[in-house]
Symmetry: C2
């Protein structure tokens, strides 16, 4: 019988000292002093045996509703190798790996500990030392790949040097993570000044700081921008850490922060054959009030739609946020040269481009997207 | 000068009777009696002239921060063709199409009216007359296409007959909407019993009612399931309207509804080369407390992680929801035959499959995903 219905392994942080059952719980006392109660229903629900979990997929094949709500344990014991054994009153037997049990303990101390161990974002401003990597390392070496992906996750901006300057060369880089997310602009998009532009991105205009595709329910997670040639005058890249701006706003102007985290704003991306629209607040928070995403592109914004009494407050908040994006303390500027590639968290690192002069020389970037889900999955597999 | 920076046209619901400006607003009195105030900053922000909006992309090229917060109108007049003209004190001139202005009015009455006109979901149970369409109509006729897509949007479940039974035949159907959303299971996935299954979907097991890929931040919007052959015993399809179940739960057990709309649950989808995990409540609500999505697959659920005092409430709520999925009043059952295709809102219509006997005959379905953004974009373009 497998004691873990999982592809991961769980280190035994502390051995189990003793375990005691009553009508509703089994309480585990760990040798390091922690006490973890587990409800009987939770334990039965998480039985890893091959009748409860299909061993090939490691996916559950029973549903908790098929188990009586008042299930009782007949016997609670420790195995010789330190795991927890439960014999249930209906005769079913479950064995729980001690490492797995500790990793999934939900006493207050264990929950707080897991919260503390979550990866922390590193906020930045104009003086950022941008995490930089080399193409050959990232392509060949899983340790370099992991270092790069952790930088993307935690800093939200990275630079790769030495990428071949041929068309499509960014694809194998993106595929070191996973498949590419398609959009109506294609799998790969060419950022060049075009006569029949279907986005201001495809002009030579100054593009103010923005996230790509705020017009979609899920904005693309990672954006890759690869420079094939950059001989035109102008066209430098600027980035700001949108999470940093949000924290500054929260601190300096709580009312504007409240408005930008609660009022849905519509973004629109319309062309002859598509009409994308999505409404969401400019700053998204998780259940712990942590910033998880910025949604912002002035050139894709629809007319504000909010009751008359709220409208001046919304303009005040929006202008305040735009003013922060223009504040030099937060702007990291660098001109991308041929063979370099930006990879950044599109939902965090707002990006901008200076106006350039297409008559002064060639400028050709290629871009693509990979979502955050794929980034996190890849990191987990590399860390197994 | 274009009076609309848009690809849409806006019918004049009522002509403008008069317009009057003061220090902060222009107030429009419509001939049908409605009064709509517009803030000066809002009007200036939405100036559609070719200096403010690039006519090729219809995207804004000014930022509102570059306009003084206390901007004043020098003259407010109506044009001969009934539009609104504003001459600003700095000399800039703006013309607003009357139909556009009415469509974007934000007086309380106009906001309430737009809220009322939003498409309504049609909730259903076991007696659903499933909206059915024919392949040749949907492929050739844009009116049939639109009727089908509106059914998918509002009912969340549809059936298409007469689809060729060759591999890949669902792709052109999906592409009548847009590109296909890829996942780690591929662009197209083959639902067959496999020895090395990386999901219980690829076994012959009974699969309880679920949404696909609850392990991703954005669950796929539409799911296509195309039957190439179904000669095996068993394997009927069952659907429930998850939005209906959520409303029943809200009515009958508000405490459980509160828990399932607020406590994040982790779903996990792990294989040898991927490790997807996402945490979110089982029922998602929008800012008006309307249900927007169900996230549910018992076989992909991670161990519950919530403080000990909350755990019994979570199990109670979860069991209650599972019990609703098993209630015959809500279950629509139908066996899919060769040449038929389900297209359903994966985030609303939970789907299940009875166990089947792979020794009794061949069973081969193919599936793919398209997101809600693409559905809504396509509907808007068809309705232009």
């Amino acid at each position: 019988m497998s004691a873990i219905a999982d592809f991961s392994t769980y280190k035994v942080i502390s051995p189990i000292g003793s375990a005691r059952g009553d009508d509703t719980h089994v309480t585990v006392h760990w040798l390091d002093g922690r006490t973890s109660p587990y409800h009987l229903l939770w334990l039965r629900d998480n039985c890893p045996c091959s009748r409860c979990v299909y061993s090939v997929t490691r996916e559950q094949v029973v549903e908790i509703l098929d188990i009586p709500e008042d299930i009782q344990a007949a016997r609670v014991t420790l195995t010789d190798d330190g795991n927890l054994d439960i014999l249930w009153q209906d005769g079913h037997a479950s064995t729980y790996d001690a490492g797995w049990l500790r990793a999934h303990a939900y006493d207050e101390e264990s929950l707080a500990e897991r919260e503390r161990l979550k990866p922390k974002k590193r906020l930045w401003g104009s003086s950022l030392a941008v995490p930089a990597f080399h193409y050959t390392d990232v392509m060949a070496d899983d340790a370099a790949l992991l270092a790069w992906l952790l930088a993307v996750r935690d800093t939200g901006l990275s630079l790769i040097h030495g990428v071949p300057t041929e068309s499509g060369a960014l694809v194998p880089v993106a595929k070191r993570i996973s498949f590419i997310r398609e959009s109506n602009f294609g799998t790969l998009f060419d950022v060049q000044s075009k006569v029949d532009a279907d986005s201001n991105a495809y002009t030579a205009f100054n593009l103010p700081l923005h996230t790509d595709l705020p017009t979609r329910e899920l904005q693309p997670g990672l954006q890759f921008l690869h420079c094939l040639v950059n001989d035109a005058r102008g066209g430098s890249s600027t980035f700001v850490d949108g999470f940093k701006l949000a924290e500054v706003l929260r601190e300096e102007d709580p009312q504007s922060f409240e408005i930008l985290t609660s009022l849905p704003i519509e973004f629109r991306n319309r062309g002859r054959s598509s009409d994308y629209r999505y409404q969401a607040p400019i700053i998204a928070l998780d259940e712990n009030q942590e910033v998880t995403e910025i949604r912002m592109a002035n050139f894709l914004r629809g007319p504000f739609s909010t009751p008359p009494a709220t409208m001046p407050l919304l303009y005040r908040a929006y202008r305040r946020f735009i003013a922060l994006t223009r504040d030099d303390r937060f702007r990291y500027r660098q001109r991308l040269e041929a063979g370099q590639l930006w990879c950044f968290d599109n939902r965090r690192a707002l990006h901008a481009r200076d106006e350039f002069d297409p008559a002064s020389g060639a400028r050709h970037f290629q871009g693509c997207y990979v979502d955050r889900d794929e980034l996190h999955s890849r990191i987990r597999v590399l860390q197994r």
